[in-house]
Symmetry: C2
Subunit: 239 residues, 2 copies
DNA sequence: CGATTAATGGTCTTCTTGACCATAAAGGGT
DNA sequence: ACCCTTTATGGTCAAGAAGACCATTAATCG
Protein backbone atom coordinates (compact mmCIF):
# COMPACT_ATOMS: atom_id res chain seq x y z
CA UNK A 1 0.00 0.00 0.00
CA UNK A 2 1.30 3.41 -0.79
CA UNK A 3 -0.18 5.78 1.73
CA UNK A 4 -0.19 5.85 5.46
CA UNK A 5 -3.85 6.71 5.64
CA UNK A 6 -5.85 4.02 3.95
CA UNK A 7 -5.60 1.35 6.59
CA UNK A 8 -6.09 1.89 10.27
CA UNK A 9 -2.74 1.59 11.92
CA UNK A 10 -2.50 -0.59 14.94
CA UNK A 11 -0.46 0.71 17.83
CA UNK A 12 2.66 -1.20 18.81
CA UNK A 13 4.88 -0.98 21.81
CA UNK A 14 8.44 -0.20 20.76
CA UNK A 15 11.44 -1.11 22.85
CA UNK A 16 15.18 -1.24 22.54
CA UNK A 17 17.28 -4.22 23.57
CA UNK A 18 20.99 -3.90 24.18
CA UNK A 19 23.68 -6.48 23.64
CA UNK A 20 26.47 -4.74 25.53
CA UNK A 21 29.68 -6.67 25.08
CA UNK A 22 33.10 -6.49 26.63
CA UNK A 23 36.22 -8.60 26.61
CA UNK A 24 37.23 -9.67 30.06
CA UNK A 25 39.67 -12.35 31.11
CA UNK A 26 39.98 -13.67 27.59
CA UNK A 27 36.26 -14.25 27.14
CA UNK A 28 33.49 -12.26 25.57
CA UNK A 29 31.08 -11.08 28.25
CA UNK A 30 27.61 -9.66 27.89
CA UNK A 31 25.70 -7.42 30.24
CA UNK A 32 22.61 -9.23 31.52
CA UNK A 33 19.88 -8.44 33.99
CA UNK A 34 17.88 -10.88 36.02
CA UNK A 35 14.20 -10.22 35.55
CA UNK A 36 12.28 -9.48 38.71
CA UNK A 37 8.80 -9.80 37.27
CA UNK A 38 6.72 -12.05 35.10
CA UNK A 39 7.03 -13.09 32.44
CA UNK A 40 10.36 -14.84 32.65
CA UNK A 41 10.82 -13.80 36.29
CA UNK A 42 14.19 -14.98 37.54
CA UNK A 43 15.56 -15.43 34.03
CA UNK A 44 18.47 -13.52 32.58
CA UNK A 45 17.69 -11.08 29.82
CA UNK A 46 19.33 -8.36 27.82
CA UNK A 47 18.82 -4.90 29.27
CA UNK A 48 16.33 -2.75 27.46
CA UNK A 49 13.21 -0.73 27.75
CA UNK A 50 10.53 1.28 26.12
CA UNK A 51 11.11 4.24 23.88
CA UNK A 52 9.98 7.50 25.39
CA UNK A 53 7.68 9.60 23.22
CA UNK A 54 10.34 12.02 22.02
CA UNK A 55 13.25 9.65 21.71
CA UNK A 56 14.82 7.99 18.73
CA UNK A 57 15.81 4.38 19.24
CA UNK A 58 19.45 5.44 19.36
CA UNK A 59 18.76 7.97 22.08
CA UNK A 60 16.76 5.46 24.06
CA UNK A 61 19.54 2.91 23.73
CA UNK A 62 22.12 5.35 25.03
CA UNK A 63 19.87 6.29 27.91
CA UNK A 64 19.29 2.67 28.81
CA UNK A 65 22.98 1.93 28.58
CA UNK A 66 23.78 4.81 30.90
CA UNK A 67 21.13 3.65 33.33
CA UNK A 68 22.33 0.07 33.30
CA UNK A 69 26.05 0.62 33.57
CA UNK A 70 26.07 3.84 35.53
CA UNK A 71 28.13 5.44 32.79
CA UNK A 72 27.16 8.69 31.24
CA UNK A 73 27.65 9.26 27.55
CA UNK A 74 31.09 7.89 26.87
CA UNK A 75 32.92 9.89 24.23
CA UNK A 76 33.05 7.99 20.99
CA UNK A 77 31.00 5.11 22.28
CA UNK A 78 30.23 2.73 19.47
CA UNK A 79 26.55 1.91 19.30
CA UNK A 80 25.57 -0.25 16.36
CA UNK A 81 22.01 -0.82 15.35
CA UNK A 82 21.77 -4.57 15.02
CA UNK A 83 18.33 -5.50 13.78
CA UNK A 84 14.69 -5.10 14.62
CA UNK A 85 12.76 -8.02 15.99
CA UNK A 86 9.06 -7.94 15.32
CA UNK A 87 7.74 -11.49 15.39
CA UNK A 88 4.24 -11.64 16.83
CA UNK A 89 4.35 -13.43 20.13
CA UNK A 90 7.92 -12.61 21.03
CA UNK A 91 6.50 -10.98 24.16
CA UNK A 92 3.67 -13.00 25.68
CA UNK A 93 1.91 -9.94 27.09
CA UNK A 94 1.50 -7.75 24.05
CA UNK A 95 2.75 -6.88 20.65
CA UNK A 96 6.27 -5.49 21.05
CA UNK A 97 8.62 -4.42 18.29
CA UNK A 98 12.17 -4.18 19.52
CA UNK A 99 15.14 -2.43 17.99
CA UNK A 100 18.31 -4.17 19.10
CA UNK A 101 21.68 -2.46 19.46
CA UNK A 102 25.18 -3.64 20.09
CA UNK A 103 27.59 -1.66 22.22
CA UNK A 104 31.27 -2.42 22.79
CA UNK A 105 32.92 -1.35 26.02
CA UNK A 106 36.42 -1.51 27.49
CA UNK A 107 36.94 -2.05 31.19
CA UNK A 108 33.34 -1.37 32.16
CA UNK A 109 32.36 -1.00 35.81
CA UNK A 110 30.21 -3.54 37.54
CA UNK A 111 26.61 -2.63 36.81
CA UNK A 112 24.54 -1.26 39.62
CA UNK A 113 21.90 -3.76 40.62
CA UNK A 114 18.43 -2.71 41.63
CA UNK A 115 15.74 -1.09 39.59
CA UNK A 116 13.22 -3.46 38.12
CA UNK A 117 15.81 -6.16 37.84
CA UNK A 118 16.81 -8.43 40.64
CA UNK A 119 20.43 -7.92 39.62
CA UNK A 120 22.63 -6.98 36.72
CA UNK A 121 25.90 -8.67 35.88
CA UNK A 122 28.54 -9.29 33.28
CA UNK A 123 28.38 -12.92 32.24
CA UNK A 124 30.48 -14.82 29.72
CA UNK A 125 28.51 -15.30 26.52
CA UNK A 126 29.15 -19.02 26.75
CA UNK A 127 27.51 -19.09 30.18
CA UNK A 128 24.51 -17.06 29.08
CA UNK A 129 22.38 -20.18 28.86
CA UNK A 130 18.75 -19.61 28.02
CA UNK A 131 17.67 -16.01 28.11
CA UNK A 132 14.20 -14.54 28.32
CA UNK A 133 12.12 -13.69 25.27
CA UNK A 134 14.07 -14.12 22.03
CA UNK A 135 17.21 -12.71 23.56
CA UNK A 136 19.24 -15.83 22.79
CA UNK A 137 18.68 -15.08 19.14
CA UNK A 138 19.51 -11.41 19.58
CA UNK A 139 22.71 -12.26 21.43
CA UNK A 140 23.72 -14.74 18.74
CA UNK A 141 23.09 -12.14 16.06
CA UNK A 142 25.09 -9.60 18.03
CA UNK A 143 28.06 -11.93 18.37
CA UNK A 144 28.08 -12.61 14.67
CA UNK A 145 27.77 -8.90 13.94
CA UNK A 146 30.73 -8.13 16.17
CA UNK A 147 32.79 -10.81 14.47
CA UNK A 148 32.11 -9.10 11.16
CA UNK A 149 32.76 -5.65 12.61
CA UNK A 150 36.26 -6.68 13.61
CA UNK A 151 36.94 -7.69 10.04
CA UNK A 152 35.73 -4.57 8.34
CA UNK A 153 35.88 -1.76 10.87
CA UNK A 154 38.14 -0.53 13.63
CA UNK A 155 35.57 -1.61 16.20
CA UNK A 156 38.08 -3.76 18.05
CA UNK A 157 39.65 -0.66 19.55
CA UNK A 158 36.38 -0.05 21.37
CA UNK A 159 37.20 -3.12 23.46
CA UNK A 160 40.56 -1.62 24.43
CA UNK A 161 41.50 1.23 26.75
CA UNK A 162 42.45 4.54 25.10
CA UNK A 163 46.06 3.43 24.80
CA UNK A 164 46.73 -0.20 24.13
CA UNK A 165 49.37 -2.58 22.89
CA UNK A 166 49.07 -4.59 19.73
CA UNK A 167 49.07 -7.67 21.91
CA UNK A 168 45.94 -6.47 23.67
CA UNK A 169 44.31 -5.69 20.35
CA UNK A 170 45.23 -9.12 19.05
CA UNK A 171 43.70 -10.76 22.11
CA UNK A 172 40.44 -8.97 21.34
CA UNK A 173 40.44 -10.51 17.88
CA UNK A 174 41.37 -13.92 19.23
CA UNK A 175 38.62 -13.77 21.83
CA UNK A 176 35.86 -12.58 19.53
CA UNK A 177 36.86 -14.86 16.67
CA UNK A 178 37.80 -17.73 19.01
CA UNK A 179 40.89 -18.36 16.94
CA UNK A 180 44.58 -18.07 17.77
CA UNK A 181 46.41 -15.57 15.59
CA UNK A 182 50.10 -15.30 14.83
CA UNK A 183 51.38 -12.29 16.73
CA UNK A 184 53.91 -11.20 14.13
CA UNK A 185 51.52 -11.54 11.19
CA UNK A 186 48.75 -9.75 13.04
CA UNK A 187 51.07 -6.85 13.75
CA UNK A 188 52.10 -6.62 10.13
CA UNK A 189 48.53 -6.57 8.89
CA UNK A 190 47.18 -4.22 11.52
CA UNK A 191 49.93 -1.69 10.92
CA UNK A 192 49.41 -1.94 7.16
CA UNK A 193 45.81 -0.71 7.38
CA UNK A 194 45.90 3.07 7.06
CA UNK A 195 44.19 4.82 9.92
CA UNK A 196 43.53 1.73 12.00
CA UNK A 197 45.96 2.40 14.84
CA UNK A 198 48.39 5.25 15.47
CA UNK A 199 51.51 4.90 17.60
CA UNK A 200 51.73 7.01 20.72
CA UNK A 201 54.69 9.19 19.81
CA UNK A 202 56.31 9.63 23.20
CA UNK A 203 58.12 6.29 22.93
CA UNK A 204 55.66 5.23 25.59
CA UNK A 205 55.75 1.68 26.76
CA UNK A 206 53.86 -0.48 29.14
CA UNK A 207 54.40 -3.72 30.86
CA UNK A 208 51.33 -5.80 31.45
CA UNK A 209 52.97 -8.70 33.25
CA UNK A 210 55.77 -10.71 31.77
CA UNK A 211 57.58 -10.26 28.53
CA UNK A 212 59.16 -7.42 26.64
CA UNK A 213 57.41 -4.06 27.02
CA UNK A 214 55.19 -3.19 24.09
CA UNK A 215 54.69 0.04 22.21
CA UNK A 216 51.42 1.82 22.80
CA UNK A 217 48.88 2.72 20.14
CA UNK A 218 45.69 4.70 19.97
CA UNK A 219 42.67 4.08 17.80
CA UNK A 220 43.12 5.70 14.41
CA UNK A 221 40.57 7.72 12.48
CA UNK A 222 39.58 4.96 10.07
CA UNK A 223 36.07 3.61 10.38
CA UNK A 224 36.32 1.09 7.55
CA UNK A 225 39.39 -1.13 7.27
CA UNK A 226 41.06 -1.27 3.85
CA UNK A 227 42.10 -3.92 3.37
CA UNK A 228 39.86 -5.77 5.84
CA UNK A 229 41.33 -8.08 8.46
CA UNK A 230 39.76 -11.35 7.37
CA UNK A 231 39.38 -14.10 9.90
CA UNK A 232 41.08 -17.35 8.94
CA UNK A 233 38.70 -19.63 7.02
CA UNK A 234 37.15 -22.42 9.00
CA UNK A 235 37.94 -25.98 8.03
CA UNK A 236 35.76 -27.65 5.43
CA UNK A 237 36.58 -26.58 1.93
CA UNK A 238 34.93 -27.80 -1.26
CA UNK A 239 37.75 -29.67 -2.95
CA UNK B 1 15.28 0.14 32.74
CA UNK B 2 15.01 -3.57 33.17
CA UNK B 3 11.34 -4.43 33.05
CA UNK B 4 8.63 -3.71 30.60
CA UNK B 5 6.15 -2.76 33.26
CA UNK B 6 7.52 0.11 35.26
CA UNK B 7 6.96 2.88 32.76
CA UNK B 8 3.85 3.40 30.74
CA UNK B 9 4.64 2.51 27.17
CA UNK B 10 3.60 4.94 24.53
CA UNK B 11 2.04 3.49 21.41
CA UNK B 12 3.86 3.94 18.15
CA UNK B 13 2.80 3.39 14.60
CA UNK B 14 5.10 0.86 12.92
CA UNK B 15 5.62 0.74 9.18
CA UNK B 16 7.90 -0.93 6.72
CA UNK B 17 9.65 0.90 3.88
CA UNK B 18 11.03 -0.95 0.90
CA UNK B 19 14.03 -0.06 -1.20
CA UNK B 20 13.36 -2.44 -4.08
CA UNK B 21 16.27 -2.35 -6.48
CA UNK B 22 16.90 -3.75 -9.91
CA UNK B 23 19.54 -3.37 -12.58
CA UNK B 24 18.08 -2.20 -15.84
CA UNK B 25 19.86 -0.77 -18.87
CA UNK B 26 23.13 -0.54 -17.02
CA UNK B 27 21.75 1.59 -14.20
CA UNK B 28 20.50 0.83 -10.73
CA UNK B 29 16.76 1.48 -10.55
CA UNK B 30 14.52 1.78 -7.53
CA UNK B 31 10.79 1.21 -7.26
CA UNK B 32 9.07 4.46 -6.31
CA UNK B 33 5.49 5.54 -5.83
CA UNK B 34 4.07 9.00 -6.28
CA UNK B 35 2.17 10.00 -3.19
CA UNK B 36 -1.46 10.88 -3.74
CA UNK B 37 -2.12 12.43 -0.38
CA UNK B 38 -0.66 14.87 2.06
CA UNK B 39 1.89 15.10 3.38
CA UNK B 40 4.29 15.13 0.48
CA UNK B 41 1.45 14.77 -2.05
CA UNK B 42 2.88 14.52 -5.54
CA UNK B 43 6.33 13.58 -4.29
CA UNK B 44 8.05 10.30 -5.00
CA UNK B 45 8.50 7.97 -2.06
CA UNK B 46 9.58 4.44 -1.29
CA UNK B 47 6.70 1.99 -1.16
CA UNK B 48 5.69 0.90 2.28
CA UNK B 49 2.89 0.65 4.73
CA UNK B 50 1.72 -0.24 8.18
CA UNK B 51 2.29 -3.52 9.89
CA UNK B 52 -0.87 -5.51 10.39
CA UNK B 53 -1.51 -6.73 13.92
CA UNK B 54 -0.35 -10.29 13.33
CA UNK B 55 2.50 -9.64 10.94
CA UNK B 56 6.21 -9.54 11.47
CA UNK B 57 8.02 -6.77 9.66
CA UNK B 58 9.40 -9.32 7.20
CA UNK B 59 5.94 -10.61 6.43
CA UNK B 60 4.60 -7.11 5.98
CA UNK B 61 7.48 -6.25 3.68
CA UNK B 62 6.81 -9.27 1.48
CA UNK B 63 3.13 -8.45 1.37
CA UNK B 64 3.83 -4.86 0.39
CA UNK B 65 6.28 -5.97 -2.23
CA UNK B 66 3.73 -8.33 -3.73
CA UNK B 67 1.12 -5.61 -3.72
CA UNK B 68 3.39 -3.07 -5.35
CA UNK B 69 4.92 -5.20 -8.03
CA UNK B 70 2.09 -7.62 -8.62
CA UNK B 71 4.44 -10.49 -7.88
CA UNK B 72 3.54 -13.21 -5.46
CA UNK B 73 6.14 -14.70 -3.20
CA UNK B 74 9.10 -15.26 -5.46
CA UNK B 75 11.05 -18.35 -4.52
CA UNK B 76 14.31 -17.43 -2.89
CA UNK B 77 13.60 -13.74 -2.98
CA UNK B 78 16.27 -11.90 -1.10
CA UNK B 79 14.81 -9.53 1.45
CA UNK B 80 17.39 -7.85 3.65
CA UNK B 81 16.47 -5.94 6.73
CA UNK B 82 18.30 -2.66 6.32
CA UNK B 83 17.78 -0.54 9.41
CA UNK B 84 15.05 0.95 11.53
CA UNK B 85 14.38 4.66 11.37
CA UNK B 86 12.86 6.12 14.47
CA UNK B 87 13.72 9.83 14.62
CA UNK B 88 10.89 11.83 16.11
CA UNK B 89 9.41 14.05 13.44
CA UNK B 90 10.30 11.89 10.48
CA UNK B 91 6.58 11.77 9.73
CA UNK B 92 4.90 15.13 10.30
CA UNK B 93 1.57 13.59 11.28
CA UNK B 94 2.50 11.24 14.06
CA UNK B 95 5.20 9.21 15.64
CA UNK B 96 6.15 6.49 13.15
CA UNK B 97 8.89 3.92 13.55
CA UNK B 98 9.79 2.34 10.24
CA UNK B 99 11.66 -0.85 9.54
CA UNK B 100 13.37 -0.55 6.16
CA UNK B 101 14.11 -3.49 3.89
CA UNK B 102 16.06 -3.95 0.71
CA UNK B 103 14.92 -6.32 -2.00
CA UNK B 104 16.80 -7.24 -5.16
CA UNK B 105 14.88 -8.23 -8.27
CA UNK B 106 15.75 -9.38 -11.76
CA UNK B 107 13.61 -8.40 -14.73
CA UNK B 108 10.70 -7.12 -12.65
CA UNK B 109 7.40 -6.24 -14.29
CA UNK B 110 6.20 -2.69 -14.47
CA UNK B 111 4.39 -1.97 -11.24
CA UNK B 112 0.65 -1.59 -11.36
CA UNK B 113 -0.31 1.96 -10.62
CA UNK B 114 -3.34 2.82 -8.56
CA UNK B 115 -4.05 2.17 -4.94
CA UNK B 116 -3.25 5.08 -2.73
CA UNK B 117 -0.47 6.23 -4.98
CA UNK B 118 -0.92 8.31 -8.07
CA UNK B 119 1.49 6.01 -9.86
CA UNK B 120 4.33 3.58 -9.29
CA UNK B 121 7.44 3.37 -11.43
CA UNK B 122 10.97 2.16 -11.71
CA UNK B 123 13.29 5.16 -11.71
CA UNK B 124 17.08 5.31 -11.92
CA UNK B 125 18.56 5.95 -8.48
CA UNK B 126 20.43 8.92 -9.90
CA UNK B 127 17.14 10.46 -11.02
CA UNK B 128 15.40 9.85 -7.72
CA UNK B 129 15.83 13.48 -6.73
CA UNK B 130 14.26 14.46 -3.45
CA UNK B 131 11.99 11.86 -1.96
CA UNK B 132 9.31 12.22 0.68
CA UNK B 133 10.00 11.81 4.39
CA UNK B 134 13.55 10.59 5.08
CA UNK B 135 13.48 8.27 2.11
CA UNK B 136 16.54 9.87 0.51
CA UNK B 137 18.49 8.72 3.51
CA UNK B 138 16.96 5.26 3.39
CA UNK B 139 17.73 4.91 -0.29
CA UNK B 140 21.31 6.03 0.25
CA UNK B 141 21.70 3.50 3.05
CA UNK B 142 20.20 0.81 0.85
CA UNK B 143 22.60 1.53 -2.00
CA UNK B 144 25.56 1.32 0.32
CA UNK B 145 24.22 -1.88 1.81
CA UNK B 146 23.85 -3.45 -1.60
CA UNK B 147 27.40 -2.46 -2.52
CA UNK B 148 28.60 -4.30 0.57
CA UNK B 149 26.33 -7.26 -0.12
CA UNK B 150 27.94 -7.78 -3.50
CA UNK B 151 31.32 -8.00 -1.83
CA UNK B 152 30.46 -10.47 0.85
CA UNK B 153 27.45 -12.42 -0.33
CA UNK B 154 26.10 -13.94 -3.49
CA UNK B 155 23.40 -11.28 -3.64
CA UNK B 156 24.40 -10.20 -7.13
CA UNK B 157 22.75 -13.28 -8.56
CA UNK B 158 19.43 -11.91 -7.33
CA UNK B 159 19.78 -9.20 -9.98
CA UNK B 160 20.17 -11.84 -12.68
CA UNK B 161 17.69 -14.25 -14.26
CA UNK B 162 17.84 -17.88 -13.08
CA UNK B 163 20.46 -18.67 -15.72
CA UNK B 164 22.95 -15.99 -16.54
CA UNK B 165 26.34 -15.44 -18.11
CA UNK B 166 29.38 -14.23 -16.24
CA UNK B 167 29.24 -11.11 -18.37
CA UNK B 168 25.78 -10.31 -17.06
CA UNK B 169 26.94 -10.94 -13.53
CA UNK B 170 29.92 -8.68 -14.06
CA UNK B 171 27.68 -5.92 -15.37
CA UNK B 172 25.69 -6.11 -12.15
CA UNK B 173 28.87 -5.52 -10.18
CA UNK B 174 29.96 -2.72 -12.49
CA UNK B 175 26.58 -1.04 -12.22
CA UNK B 176 26.23 -1.27 -8.46
CA UNK B 177 29.84 -0.37 -7.76
CA UNK B 178 29.99 2.14 -10.61
CA UNK B 179 33.40 0.82 -11.58
CA UNK B 180 34.64 -0.97 -14.68
CA UNK B 181 35.98 -4.43 -13.99
CA UNK B 182 38.34 -6.53 -16.07
CA UNK B 183 36.28 -9.31 -17.61
CA UNK B 184 38.97 -11.98 -17.42
CA UNK B 185 39.99 -11.21 -13.84
CA UNK B 186 36.38 -11.06 -12.70
CA UNK B 187 35.76 -14.47 -14.20
CA UNK B 188 38.77 -15.92 -12.47
CA UNK B 189 37.76 -14.56 -9.08
CA UNK B 190 34.08 -15.40 -9.35
CA UNK B 191 34.79 -18.98 -10.36
CA UNK B 192 37.32 -19.32 -7.55
CA UNK B 193 34.72 -18.65 -4.85
CA UNK B 194 33.26 -22.02 -3.86
CA UNK B 195 29.51 -22.14 -4.17
CA UNK B 196 29.08 -18.73 -5.76
CA UNK B 197 28.01 -19.83 -9.23
CA UNK B 198 27.52 -23.27 -10.74
CA UNK B 199 27.80 -23.98 -14.46
CA UNK B 200 24.70 -25.23 -16.21
CA UNK B 201 25.87 -28.71 -17.19
CA UNK B 202 24.09 -29.11 -20.50
CA UNK B 203 26.77 -27.11 -22.31
CA UNK B 204 24.04 -24.53 -22.64
CA UNK B 205 24.91 -21.25 -24.22
CA UNK B 206 23.22 -18.01 -24.94
CA UNK B 207 23.83 -15.10 -27.19
CA UNK B 208 22.74 -11.75 -25.89
CA UNK B 209 23.69 -9.64 -28.89
CA UNK B 210 27.15 -9.53 -30.37
CA UNK B 211 30.21 -11.46 -29.40
CA UNK B 212 31.07 -15.03 -28.61
CA UNK B 213 28.32 -16.99 -26.88
CA UNK B 214 28.83 -17.34 -23.16
CA UNK B 215 28.42 -20.30 -20.85
CA UNK B 216 25.46 -20.19 -18.53
CA UNK B 217 25.60 -20.35 -14.77
CA UNK B 218 23.14 -20.61 -11.95
CA UNK B 219 23.40 -19.14 -8.48
CA UNK B 220 25.32 -21.47 -6.21
CA UNK B 221 24.44 -22.45 -2.66
CA UNK B 222 26.90 -20.12 -0.96
CA UNK B 223 25.44 -17.27 1.03
CA UNK B 224 28.74 -15.80 2.19
CA UNK B 225 31.58 -15.38 -0.29
CA UNK B 226 34.98 -16.75 0.77
CA UNK B 227 37.07 -15.03 -0.24
CA UNK B 228 34.97 -11.89 -0.69
CA UNK B 229 34.94 -10.02 -3.99
CA UNK B 230 36.40 -6.71 -2.86
CA UNK B 231 35.66 -3.63 -4.90
CA UNK B 232 38.74 -1.85 -6.16
CA UNK B 233 39.92 0.78 -3.68
CA UNK B 234 39.04 4.34 -4.55
CA UNK B 235 41.86 6.76 -5.25
CA UNK B 236 43.54 8.47 -2.35
CA UNK B 237 46.09 6.32 -0.56
CA UNK B 238 48.26 7.36 2.34
CA UNK B 239 51.77 7.25 0.90
C1' DC C 1 33.89 -10.63 -46.16
C1' DG C 2 36.15 -7.73 -42.81
C1' DA C 3 35.48 -5.01 -38.60
C1' DT C 4 33.69 -5.13 -34.14
C1' DT C 5 32.39 -7.13 -29.86
C1' DA C 6 32.35 -10.24 -26.06
C1' DA C 7 33.94 -14.61 -23.91
C1' DT C 8 37.58 -17.22 -22.43
C1' DG C 9 42.23 -18.82 -21.47
C1' DG C 10 46.97 -17.61 -20.40
C1' DT C 11 51.08 -15.01 -18.87
C1' DC C 12 53.71 -12.01 -15.98
C1' DT C 13 54.78 -9.20 -12.31
C1' DT C 14 53.57 -7.52 -7.83
C1' DC C 15 51.44 -7.86 -3.41
C1' DT C 16 49.66 -10.38 0.39
C1' DT C 17 49.50 -14.11 3.51
C1' DG C 18 50.67 -17.67 6.46
C1' DA C 19 54.33 -20.34 8.55
C1' DC C 20 58.45 -19.81 10.88
C1' DC C 21 62.82 -18.36 12.80
C1' DA C 22 65.66 -15.07 15.53
C1' DT C 23 66.46 -11.55 18.78
C1' DA C 24 65.23 -8.40 22.49
C1' DA C 25 63.65 -7.42 26.95
C1' DA C 26 61.05 -8.11 30.72
C1' DG C 27 59.60 -11.28 35.13
C1' DG C 28 59.82 -15.56 38.00
C1' DG C 29 62.04 -19.18 40.36
C1' DT C 30 65.87 -21.44 42.41
C1' DA D 1 73.00 -13.98 40.06
C1' DC D 2 71.42 -17.06 36.43
C1' DC D 3 68.48 -19.61 33.61
C1' DC D 4 63.93 -20.20 31.83
C1' DT D 5 59.60 -18.56 30.35
C1' DT D 6 56.96 -15.11 28.20
C1' DT D 7 55.84 -11.46 24.99
C1' DA D 8 57.19 -8.06 21.47
C1' DT D 9 59.20 -7.18 17.27
C1' DG D 10 61.73 -7.78 13.00
C1' DG D 11 62.89 -10.64 9.09
C1' DT D 12 62.67 -14.57 5.63
C1' DC D 13 60.52 -17.63 2.42
C1' DA D 14 57.34 -19.94 -0.34
C1' DA D 15 52.51 -20.26 -1.95
C1' DG D 16 48.57 -17.83 -3.33
C1' DA D 17 45.89 -13.94 -5.03
C1' DA D 18 45.28 -9.84 -7.82
C1' DG D 19 45.85 -6.47 -11.44
C1' DA D 20 47.48 -5.52 -16.13
C1' DC D 21 47.57 -7.38 -20.56
C1' DC D 22 47.67 -10.28 -24.68
C1' DA D 23 45.76 -13.94 -27.75
C1' DT D 24 42.21 -16.70 -29.58
C1' DT D 25 37.49 -17.87 -30.52
C1' DA D 26 32.95 -17.15 -32.13
C1' DA D 27 29.30 -14.52 -32.81
C1' DT D 28 26.87 -10.02 -35.10
C1' DC D 29 26.92 -5.82 -37.97
C1' DG D 30 27.81 -3.20 -42.21
Amino acid sequence: MRGYDKYAHEPFAVTVDLAVLTVRAGALHVLLVERGQEPYAGRWALPGGFLLPDESAETAARRELAEETGLDALPGLRLEQLRTYSEPGRDPRMRVVSVAFTALLADPPEPRGGGDAAQARWLPCTAAGTLAFDHDRILADARERVRALLENTGAATAFCPPEFTLGELRQVYETVWDTPLDAANFRRKALAVPGFVAPVPGAARLTQGRGKPAALYRAGPATALHPPLLRPPREGRTP
